[in-house]
Protein backbone atom coordinates (compact mmCIF):
# COMPACT_ATOMS: atom_id res chain seq x y z
CA UNK A 1 0.00 0.00 0.00
CA UNK A 2 1.67 3.19 -1.19
CA UNK A 3 0.12 5.34 1.53
CA UNK A 4 1.87 3.59 4.41
CA UNK A 5 5.00 5.81 4.38
CA UNK A 6 2.77 8.89 4.32
CA UNK A 7 0.68 7.68 7.25
CA UNK A 8 3.81 6.80 9.25
CA UNK A 9 5.46 10.15 8.53
CA UNK A 10 2.27 12.00 9.42
CA UNK A 11 2.01 10.09 12.69
CA UNK A 12 5.65 10.74 13.61
CA UNK A 13 5.26 14.47 12.98
CA UNK A 14 2.09 14.57 15.09
CA UNK A 15 3.83 12.76 17.94
CA UNK A 16 6.10 15.82 18.29
CA UNK A 17 3.10 17.60 19.81
CA UNK A 18 3.94 15.84 23.08
CA UNK A 19 7.74 16.22 23.07
CA UNK A 20 8.17 15.74 26.82
CA UNK A 21 7.34 12.04 26.80
CA UNK A 22 9.57 11.46 23.78
CA UNK A 23 12.54 13.32 25.28
CA UNK A 24 12.30 11.25 28.48
CA UNK A 25 12.04 8.06 26.42
CA UNK A 26 15.11 8.95 24.30
CA UNK A 27 17.02 9.84 27.47
CA UNK A 28 16.16 6.53 29.14
CA UNK A 29 17.25 4.45 26.14
CA UNK A 30 20.46 6.50 25.91
CA UNK A 31 21.06 5.93 29.63
CA UNK A 32 20.64 2.16 29.17
CA UNK A 33 23.20 2.20 26.36
CA UNK A 34 25.56 4.29 28.48
CA UNK A 35 25.23 1.92 31.45
CA UNK A 36 26.02 -0.99 29.15
CA UNK A 37 29.13 0.79 27.90
CA UNK A 38 30.26 1.49 31.45
CA UNK A 39 30.16 -2.24 32.09
CA UNK A 40 32.40 -2.78 29.06
CA UNK A 41 34.92 -0.24 30.31
CA UNK A 42 34.96 -0.93 34.02
CA UNK A 43 37.77 -3.21 35.17
CA UNK A 44 36.76 -6.59 36.53
CA UNK A 45 39.45 -6.64 39.22
CA UNK A 46 40.73 -3.13 39.66
CA UNK A 47 42.44 -2.69 36.25
CA UNK A 48 40.87 -2.14 32.87
CA UNK A 49 40.52 -5.30 30.78
CA UNK A 50 43.46 -6.09 28.53
CA UNK A 51 45.36 -3.04 29.74
CA UNK A 52 48.04 -4.62 31.88
CA UNK A 53 50.77 -3.67 29.37
CA UNK A 54 51.30 -0.48 27.38
CA UNK A 55 53.47 -1.01 24.30
CA UNK A 56 55.58 1.68 22.62
CA UNK A 57 57.90 2.02 19.67
CA UNK A 58 60.48 4.80 19.96
CA UNK A 59 61.56 5.90 16.49
CA UNK A 60 64.75 7.96 16.42
CA UNK A 61 64.71 10.61 13.71
CA UNK A 62 67.53 11.70 11.40
CA UNK A 63 69.13 14.83 12.84
CA UNK A 64 67.61 17.55 10.64
CA UNK A 65 64.26 16.78 9.02
CA UNK A 66 62.49 20.01 7.97
CA UNK A 67 59.69 21.23 10.28
CA UNK A 68 56.90 20.69 7.69
CA UNK A 69 58.04 17.12 7.19
CA UNK A 70 57.98 16.52 10.93
CA UNK A 71 54.35 17.60 11.06
CA UNK A 72 53.48 15.35 8.08
CA UNK A 73 55.36 12.47 9.64
CA UNK A 74 53.21 12.56 12.77
CA UNK A 75 50.00 12.33 10.75
CA UNK A 76 51.45 9.58 8.57
CA UNK A 77 52.44 7.44 11.55
CA UNK A 78 49.10 8.04 13.30
CA UNK A 79 47.27 6.70 10.24
CA UNK A 80 49.03 3.33 10.52
CA UNK A 81 46.90 0.40 11.72
CA UNK A 82 47.74 -0.46 15.33
CA UNK A 83 48.87 3.03 16.33
CA UNK A 84 46.95 4.61 19.21
CA UNK A 85 48.97 7.78 19.83
CA UNK A 86 52.01 9.66 18.46
CA UNK A 87 54.16 12.11 20.44
CA UNK A 88 57.47 13.87 19.75
CA UNK A 89 60.20 13.64 22.37
CA UNK A 90 63.44 15.58 22.84
CA UNK A 91 66.73 14.42 24.39
CA UNK A 92 66.51 14.36 28.16
CA UNK A 93 62.84 13.35 28.34
CA UNK A 94 62.06 10.05 30.04
CA UNK A 95 58.53 9.10 28.93
CA UNK A 96 58.25 6.15 28.40
CA UNK A 97 62.05 5.51 28.31
CA UNK A 98 65.03 7.90 28.54
CA UNK A 99 65.32 9.69 25.18
CA UNK A 100 68.80 10.18 23.73
CA UNK A 101 67.96 11.89 20.40
CA UNK A 102 64.99 13.59 18.80
CA UNK A 103 62.35 10.82 18.57
CA UNK A 104 58.77 9.96 17.84
CA UNK A 105 57.13 7.88 20.55
CA UNK A 106 54.41 5.67 19.08
CA UNK A 107 51.95 4.12 21.55
CA UNK A 108 50.57 0.90 20.12
CA UNK A 109 46.95 -0.16 20.53
CA UNK A 110 48.29 -3.56 21.66
CA UNK A 111 51.64 -5.36 21.80
CA UNK A 112 50.46 -7.56 18.93
CA UNK A 113 50.66 -4.58 16.58
CA UNK A 114 54.41 -4.22 17.15
CA UNK A 115 55.86 -6.13 14.17
CA UNK A 116 53.71 -4.46 11.48
CA UNK A 117 54.13 -0.92 12.83
CA UNK A 118 57.87 -1.45 13.38
CA UNK A 119 58.26 -2.67 9.77
CA UNK A 120 56.46 0.38 8.41
CA UNK A 121 58.41 2.79 10.61
CA UNK A 122 61.69 1.39 9.32
CA UNK A 123 60.58 2.16 5.76
CA UNK A 124 60.43 5.88 6.55
CA UNK A 125 63.51 7.81 5.35
CA UNK A 126 63.53 10.06 8.42
CA UNK A 127 63.66 7.14 10.87
CA UNK A 128 67.16 5.96 11.69
CA UNK A 129 66.31 3.44 14.40
CA UNK A 130 63.35 1.85 16.19
CA UNK A 131 63.31 0.64 19.77
CA UNK A 132 60.52 -1.32 21.47
CA UNK A 133 59.48 -0.55 25.03
CA UNK A 134 56.67 -1.65 27.26
CA UNK A 135 55.51 -0.90 30.77
CA UNK A 136 52.77 -1.88 33.12
CA UNK A 137 49.64 0.18 32.70
CA UNK A 138 48.79 2.49 35.54
CA UNK A 139 45.37 0.89 35.86
CA UNK A 140 42.20 2.66 36.69
CA UNK A 141 41.50 3.14 40.34
CA UNK A 142 37.82 2.44 40.85
CA UNK A 143 35.98 1.33 43.96
CA UNK A 144 35.45 -2.46 44.06
CA UNK A 145 31.68 -2.07 44.03
CA UNK A 146 31.71 -0.11 40.76
CA UNK A 147 30.65 -3.06 38.61
CA UNK A 148 27.78 -3.87 40.96
CA UNK A 149 26.68 -0.24 40.79
CA UNK A 150 26.99 -0.31 36.98
CA UNK A 151 24.92 -3.50 36.75
CA UNK A 152 22.31 -1.91 39.02
CA UNK A 153 22.33 1.24 36.90
CA UNK A 154 21.89 -0.87 33.75
CA UNK A 155 18.90 -2.71 35.23
CA UNK A 156 17.29 0.55 36.38
CA UNK A 157 17.99 2.16 33.00
CA UNK A 158 16.47 -0.82 31.15
CA UNK A 159 13.34 -0.73 33.31
CA UNK A 160 13.12 3.04 32.79
CA UNK A 161 13.60 2.68 29.02
CA UNK A 162 10.81 0.12 28.76
CA UNK A 163 8.44 1.90 31.15
CA UNK A 164 8.93 5.31 29.56
CA UNK A 165 8.73 3.64 26.13
CA UNK A 166 5.41 2.09 27.01
CA UNK A 167 4.12 5.43 28.33
CA UNK A 168 5.56 7.38 25.39
CA UNK A 169 3.88 5.04 22.91
CA UNK A 170 0.60 5.19 24.82
CA UNK A 171 0.79 9.01 24.78
CA UNK A 172 1.47 8.95 21.05
CA UNK A 173 -1.50 6.61 20.64
CA UNK A 174 -3.72 9.22 22.28
CA UNK A 175 -2.34 11.92 19.96
CA UNK A 176 -2.95 9.65 16.95
CA UNK A 177 -6.37 8.44 18.12
CA UNK A 178 -8.35 10.12 15.35
CA UNK A 179 -5.87 9.11 12.65
CA UNK A 180 -5.91 5.51 13.85
CA UNK A 181 -9.71 5.58 13.78
CA UNK A 182 -9.72 6.85 10.21
CA UNK A 183 -7.10 4.28 9.18
CA UNK A 184 -9.32 1.58 10.64
CA UNK A 185 -12.20 2.70 8.44
CA UNK A 186 -10.05 2.22 5.31
CA UNK A 187 -9.25 -1.36 6.28
CA UNK A 188 -6.05 -1.16 8.30
CA UNK A 189 -5.99 -4.24 10.51
CA UNK A 190 -4.59 -4.61 14.00
CA UNK A 191 -1.10 -5.36 12.68
CA UNK A 192 -0.91 -2.35 10.35
CA UNK A 193 -2.32 -0.04 13.02
CA UNK A 194 0.69 -0.88 15.20
CA UNK A 195 3.17 0.17 12.51
CA UNK A 196 3.23 3.86 13.57
CA UNK A 197 4.11 2.77 17.11
CA UNK A 198 6.97 0.61 15.87
CA UNK A 199 8.18 3.42 13.60
CA UNK A 200 8.17 5.75 16.60
CA UNK A 201 10.06 3.18 18.72
CA UNK A 202 12.64 2.73 15.97
CA UNK A 203 13.07 6.49 15.60
CA UNK A 204 13.48 6.90 19.36
CA UNK A 205 16.06 4.10 19.39
CA UNK A 206 18.05 5.74 16.59
CA UNK A 207 17.91 9.15 18.31
CA UNK A 208 19.01 7.61 21.60
CA UNK A 209 21.90 5.83 19.87
CA UNK A 210 22.94 9.10 18.22
CA UNK A 211 22.77 10.88 21.56
CA UNK A 212 24.76 8.13 23.26
CA UNK A 213 27.50 8.11 20.61
CA UNK A 214 27.68 11.92 20.73
CA UNK A 215 28.16 11.85 24.51
CA UNK A 216 30.80 9.12 24.27
CA UNK A 217 32.59 11.06 21.53
CA UNK A 218 32.48 14.23 23.67
CA UNK A 219 33.95 12.29 26.58
CA UNK A 220 36.66 10.90 24.31
CA UNK A 221 37.51 14.41 23.12
CA UNK A 222 37.30 16.28 26.38
CA UNK A 223 36.95 13.65 29.10
CA UNK A 224 40.59 13.87 30.15
CA UNK A 225 39.72 17.13 31.90
CA UNK A 226 37.49 15.13 34.28
CA UNK A 227 39.65 13.45 36.96
CA UNK A 228 37.29 10.48 37.36
CA UNK A 229 37.49 9.69 33.63
CA UNK A 230 41.20 10.22 32.99
CA UNK A 231 42.01 6.56 33.47
CA UNK A 232 39.22 5.35 31.14
CA UNK A 233 39.34 7.76 28.21
CA UNK A 234 42.43 6.20 26.55
CA UNK A 235 40.57 2.89 26.33
CA UNK A 236 37.53 4.27 24.51
CA UNK A 237 38.97 3.33 21.07
CA UNK A 238 38.98 -0.30 22.17
CA UNK A 239 35.22 -0.29 22.63
CA UNK A 240 34.41 1.81 19.52
CA UNK A 241 33.76 -1.23 17.27
CA UNK A 242 31.50 -2.80 19.90
CA UNK A 243 29.67 0.48 20.46
CA UNK A 244 29.18 1.10 16.76
CA UNK A 245 28.13 -2.49 15.98
CA UNK A 246 25.87 -3.02 18.96
CA UNK A 247 24.76 0.50 19.95
CA UNK A 248 22.38 1.01 17.02
CA UNK A 249 20.69 -2.43 17.08
CA UNK A 250 20.40 -2.45 20.89
CA UNK A 251 19.02 1.11 20.98
CA UNK A 252 16.50 0.38 18.22
CA UNK A 253 15.52 -2.92 19.86
CA UNK A 254 14.89 -1.14 23.18
CA UNK A 255 12.77 1.46 21.39
CA UNK A 256 10.79 -1.20 19.54
CA UNK A 257 10.11 -3.26 22.67
CA UNK A 258 8.94 -0.17 24.60
CA UNK A 259 6.72 0.88 21.69
CA UNK A 260 5.38 -2.65 21.33
CA UNK A 261 4.38 -2.65 25.00
CA UNK A 262 2.62 0.70 24.54
CA UNK A 263 0.75 -0.58 21.48
CA UNK A 264 -0.56 -3.77 23.11
CA UNK A 265 -3.89 -2.07 23.73
CA UNK A 266 -4.76 0.37 20.99
CA UNK A 267 -6.84 3.36 22.11
CA UNK A 268 -10.55 2.58 22.39
CA UNK A 269 -11.53 5.61 20.36
CA UNK A 270 -9.55 4.32 17.39
Amino acid sequence: MTGIPFALGHALVRSLRRPGALILWVGAVGLALFSGMALLLLPARGTPRDTAVEAFLVARLSPLPPEERIAQLGAEILSMVGVAQVAYRFPGETDPVPISGRSVVVRLSSPAARSEVERRLKLLAEVVGVEYAQRAAAGAQVPPASRIVAVGALVVALVLALTLGQRGAATAGRVWGEQLGLLRTVGWGEGLLRLPFLALGGAVGLLATGLFLAVVWALWMWGTAVPALVAFVPYFPRVWPTLLLLGGPVGVALGLVGAGLGALDLPDHS
Binding site: A7, H10, Q179, L182, R184, V186, G187, W188
Partner: protein, 229 residues
Protein backbone atom coordinates in the same frame (compact mmCIF):
# COMPACT_ATOMS: atom_id res chain seq x y z
CA UNK B 1 -30.14 -8.08 -11.50
CA UNK B 2 -26.47 -7.78 -10.51
CA UNK B 3 -25.80 -7.99 -6.79
CA UNK B 4 -23.24 -5.83 -4.95
CA UNK B 5 -23.61 -7.59 -1.60
CA UNK B 6 -25.13 -11.01 -1.03
CA UNK B 7 -25.63 -12.11 2.58
CA UNK B 8 -26.62 -15.79 2.74
CA UNK B 9 -27.77 -17.58 5.90
CA UNK B 10 -25.28 -15.67 8.01
CA UNK B 11 -25.01 -16.45 11.72
CA UNK B 12 -22.80 -14.90 14.33
CA UNK B 13 -22.69 -16.03 17.94
CA UNK B 14 -20.89 -14.71 20.99
CA UNK B 15 -18.66 -17.02 23.06
CA UNK B 16 -21.60 -17.37 25.46
CA UNK B 17 -23.74 -18.86 22.70
CA UNK B 18 -25.90 -15.82 22.07
CA UNK B 19 -26.80 -15.68 18.39
CA UNK B 20 -26.72 -11.97 17.63
CA UNK B 21 -27.37 -12.73 13.96
CA UNK B 22 -29.26 -15.88 13.12
CA UNK B 23 -29.80 -17.03 9.56
CA UNK B 24 -29.71 -13.57 7.99
CA UNK B 25 -30.14 -13.46 4.20
CA UNK B 26 -30.65 -10.56 1.84
CA UNK B 27 -29.11 -9.04 -1.26
CA UNK B 28 -28.14 -5.49 -2.14
CA UNK B 29 -28.48 -4.91 -5.89
CA UNK B 30 -25.67 -3.13 -7.72
CA UNK B 31 -27.81 0.01 -8.02
CA UNK B 32 -29.96 -0.64 -4.96
CA UNK B 33 -30.60 1.15 -1.68
CA UNK B 34 -31.39 -1.01 1.33
CA UNK B 35 -32.22 0.06 4.87
CA UNK B 36 -31.36 -2.41 7.65
CA UNK B 37 -33.64 -1.61 10.57
CA UNK B 38 -33.43 -3.00 14.06
CA UNK B 39 -33.54 -2.04 17.72
CA UNK B 40 -30.34 -1.47 19.71
CA UNK B 41 -28.18 -4.61 20.04
CA UNK B 42 -29.93 -6.33 17.15
CA UNK B 43 -26.63 -6.65 15.24
CA UNK B 44 -26.79 -3.78 12.76
CA UNK B 45 -23.21 -2.65 13.32
CA UNK B 46 -22.08 -6.28 13.54
CA UNK B 47 -23.63 -6.98 10.15
CA UNK B 48 -21.62 -4.11 8.62
CA UNK B 49 -18.45 -5.33 10.35
CA UNK B 50 -19.04 -8.78 8.87
CA UNK B 51 -19.48 -7.29 5.40
CA UNK B 52 -16.28 -5.28 5.93
CA UNK B 53 -14.57 -8.48 7.13
CA UNK B 54 -13.69 -6.94 10.48
CA UNK B 55 -15.48 -9.94 11.98
CA UNK B 56 -15.87 -13.46 10.62
CA UNK B 57 -19.33 -15.09 10.65
CA UNK B 58 -19.96 -18.25 12.67
CA UNK B 59 -21.81 -19.61 9.65
CA UNK B 60 -23.11 -18.64 6.24
CA UNK B 61 -21.47 -16.64 3.49
CA UNK B 62 -21.06 -13.02 2.46
CA UNK B 63 -20.20 -12.05 -1.11
CA UNK B 64 -19.12 -8.47 -1.79
CA UNK B 65 -18.74 -7.50 -5.44
CA UNK B 66 -18.60 -11.21 -6.23
CA UNK B 67 -15.94 -12.13 -3.67
CA UNK B 68 -16.33 -14.27 -0.58
CA UNK B 69 -14.90 -11.89 2.02
CA UNK B 70 -14.15 -14.64 4.55
CA UNK B 71 -11.64 -16.17 2.14
CA UNK B 72 -9.79 -13.00 1.20
CA UNK B 73 -6.19 -12.43 2.29
CA UNK B 74 -5.61 -9.23 4.33
CA UNK B 75 -4.07 -7.59 1.26
CA UNK B 76 -6.96 -8.52 -1.04
CA UNK B 77 -9.31 -7.40 1.69
CA UNK B 78 -7.67 -3.93 1.79
CA UNK B 79 -7.96 -3.73 -2.00
CA UNK B 80 -11.64 -4.61 -1.79
CA UNK B 81 -12.12 -2.02 0.97
CA UNK B 82 -11.03 0.68 -1.48
CA UNK B 83 -14.26 -0.10 -3.36
CA UNK B 84 -16.38 0.02 -0.20
CA UNK B 85 -17.18 3.35 1.44
CA UNK B 86 -17.94 3.15 5.15
CA UNK B 87 -19.53 5.71 7.43
CA UNK B 88 -18.83 4.42 10.95
CA UNK B 89 -20.69 5.25 14.12
CA UNK B 90 -19.23 7.18 15.87
CA UNK B 91 -17.67 9.14 13.03
CA UNK B 92 -13.88 9.08 12.57
CA UNK B 93 -12.87 12.64 11.76
CA UNK B 94 -9.67 14.63 12.22
CA UNK B 95 -11.08 17.33 14.46
CA UNK B 96 -8.17 19.75 14.18
CA UNK B 97 -8.14 19.68 10.39
CA UNK B 98 -10.30 21.21 7.67
CA UNK B 99 -12.93 19.40 5.64
CA UNK B 100 -10.49 19.23 2.73
CA UNK B 101 -7.70 18.15 5.08
CA UNK B 102 -9.75 15.16 6.21
CA UNK B 103 -10.41 14.02 2.66
CA UNK B 104 -6.80 14.63 1.61
CA UNK B 105 -5.50 12.55 4.51
CA UNK B 106 -7.65 9.57 3.58
CA UNK B 107 -6.76 9.85 -0.11
CA UNK B 108 -3.01 10.10 0.63
CA UNK B 109 -3.23 7.04 2.88
CA UNK B 110 -4.86 5.17 0.01
CA UNK B 111 -2.11 6.33 -2.35
CA UNK B 112 -3.97 9.07 -4.23
CA UNK B 113 -2.38 12.47 -4.77
CA UNK B 114 -2.27 15.38 -7.20
CA UNK B 115 -4.96 15.89 -9.80
CA UNK B 116 -6.50 12.47 -9.27
CA UNK B 117 -6.95 13.16 -5.55
CA UNK B 118 -8.36 16.60 -6.34
CA UNK B 119 -11.00 15.06 -8.63
CA UNK B 120 -12.05 12.49 -6.02
CA UNK B 121 -12.19 15.20 -3.34
CA UNK B 122 -14.31 17.56 -5.43
CA UNK B 123 -16.72 14.80 -6.42
CA UNK B 124 -17.16 13.58 -2.84
CA UNK B 125 -17.73 17.12 -1.51
CA UNK B 126 -20.27 17.75 -4.24
CA UNK B 127 -22.16 14.49 -3.64
CA UNK B 128 -22.20 15.03 0.13
CA UNK B 129 -23.43 18.59 -0.32
CA UNK B 130 -20.57 20.31 1.52
CA UNK B 131 -18.57 21.78 -1.38
CA UNK B 132 -19.07 25.24 0.11
CA UNK B 133 -17.54 24.12 3.43
CA UNK B 134 -14.29 22.77 1.99
CA UNK B 135 -12.05 25.11 3.98
CA UNK B 136 -14.06 25.00 7.24
CA UNK B 137 -12.43 23.42 10.26
CA UNK B 138 -14.17 20.33 11.58
CA UNK B 139 -14.56 21.88 15.02
CA UNK B 140 -16.68 24.65 13.51
CA UNK B 141 -19.12 22.32 11.72
CA UNK B 142 -22.66 21.64 12.91
CA UNK B 143 -23.79 18.07 13.59
CA UNK B 144 -25.46 17.58 10.20
CA UNK B 145 -22.37 18.93 8.44
CA UNK B 146 -20.17 16.55 10.44
CA UNK B 147 -22.34 13.64 9.26
CA UNK B 148 -22.04 14.91 5.69
CA UNK B 149 -18.27 15.04 6.09
CA UNK B 150 -18.32 11.45 7.33
CA UNK B 151 -20.28 10.60 4.19
CA UNK B 152 -17.83 12.53 1.97
CA UNK B 153 -14.95 10.60 3.53
CA UNK B 154 -16.72 7.34 2.73
CA UNK B 155 -17.27 8.50 -0.86
CA UNK B 156 -13.50 8.89 -1.39
CA UNK B 157 -12.25 7.41 -3.70
CA UNK B 158 -15.44 6.60 -5.56
CA UNK B 159 -16.49 3.28 -4.04
CA UNK B 160 -18.94 0.85 -5.66
CA UNK B 161 -20.76 0.22 -2.37
CA UNK B 162 -21.56 2.61 0.46
CA UNK B 163 -22.17 1.27 3.98
CA UNK B 164 -23.59 3.70 6.56
CA UNK B 165 -23.82 2.78 10.22
CA UNK B 166 -26.83 4.73 11.48
CA UNK B 167 -25.77 8.19 10.26
CA UNK B 168 -29.24 9.48 11.28
CA UNK B 169 -28.88 8.77 14.98
CA UNK B 170 -29.91 11.61 17.29
CA UNK B 171 -30.54 14.01 14.40
CA UNK B 172 -33.80 15.97 14.15
CA UNK B 173 -36.23 14.52 11.54
CA UNK B 174 -35.57 17.23 8.96
CA UNK B 175 -31.81 16.55 9.12
CA UNK B 176 -32.45 12.81 8.87
CA UNK B 177 -34.55 13.45 5.78
CA UNK B 178 -31.80 15.64 4.31
CA UNK B 179 -29.30 12.79 4.75
CA UNK B 180 -31.69 10.28 3.14
CA UNK B 181 -32.02 12.62 0.15
CA UNK B 182 -28.23 12.79 -0.16
CA UNK B 183 -27.96 9.00 0.09
CA UNK B 184 -30.66 8.67 -2.59
CA UNK B 185 -28.67 11.01 -4.86
CA UNK B 186 -25.53 8.95 -4.21
CA UNK B 187 -27.50 5.82 -5.09
CA UNK B 188 -28.83 7.45 -8.26
CA UNK B 189 -25.25 8.28 -9.26
CA UNK B 190 -24.67 4.52 -9.57
CA UNK B 191 -23.59 3.41 -6.12
CA UNK B 192 -25.17 0.65 -4.04
CA UNK B 193 -26.18 1.99 -0.60
CA UNK B 194 -26.73 0.02 2.60
CA UNK B 195 -27.73 2.13 5.62
CA UNK B 196 -28.74 1.02 9.09
CA UNK B 197 -31.16 2.78 11.40
CA UNK B 198 -32.99 1.98 14.60
CA UNK B 199 -35.98 4.10 13.52
CA UNK B 200 -38.40 2.10 11.30
CA UNK B 201 -40.34 5.30 10.58
CA UNK B 202 -37.44 6.88 8.70
CA UNK B 203 -37.35 4.58 5.64
CA UNK B 204 -41.15 4.45 5.68
CA UNK B 205 -41.27 8.26 5.31
CA UNK B 206 -39.22 7.90 2.13
CA UNK B 207 -41.29 5.15 0.54
CA UNK B 208 -39.17 2.14 1.45
CA UNK B 209 -41.28 -0.98 1.95
CA UNK B 210 -40.39 -4.23 3.70
CA UNK B 211 -38.37 -6.89 1.89
CA UNK B 212 -40.68 -9.09 -0.11
CA UNK B 213 -40.16 -12.37 -1.97
CA UNK B 214 -39.48 -10.60 -5.29
CA UNK B 215 -36.15 -8.84 -5.96
CA UNK B 216 -36.36 -5.07 -5.38
CA UNK B 217 -33.99 -2.14 -5.68
CA UNK B 218 -35.15 -0.27 -2.59
CA UNK B 219 -36.45 -2.01 0.51
CA UNK B 220 -36.17 -2.39 4.28
CA UNK B 221 -34.60 -5.44 5.88
CA UNK B 222 -35.48 -5.89 9.56
CA UNK B 223 -33.23 -7.47 12.17
CA UNK B 224 -34.47 -9.03 15.40
CA UNK B 225 -32.54 -8.98 18.68
CA UNK B 226 -30.30 -12.01 19.30
CA UNK B 227 -31.53 -15.30 20.72
CA UNK B 228 -29.92 -17.65 23.25
CA UNK B 229 -29.80 -21.30 22.21
Amino acid sequence: MRVAIQVSEVRWATEDGVYVLDNVSFGLPHDGFVFVVGPPASGKTLLLRLILREEVPTGGQILVLGRNVARLSPRRCRELRKRMGYVPEPLRLLSDSTVTGNLSYKLRVLGYRGKEAEEHRARALELAGIASLAQERVGELGELERRKLGLALALCPEPAVLLCDDPFRELPPQDQDALVHILSAVNTSGMAVLATTRDPGLPARHGFGPKGPAPALRYVFSLRPGVVR
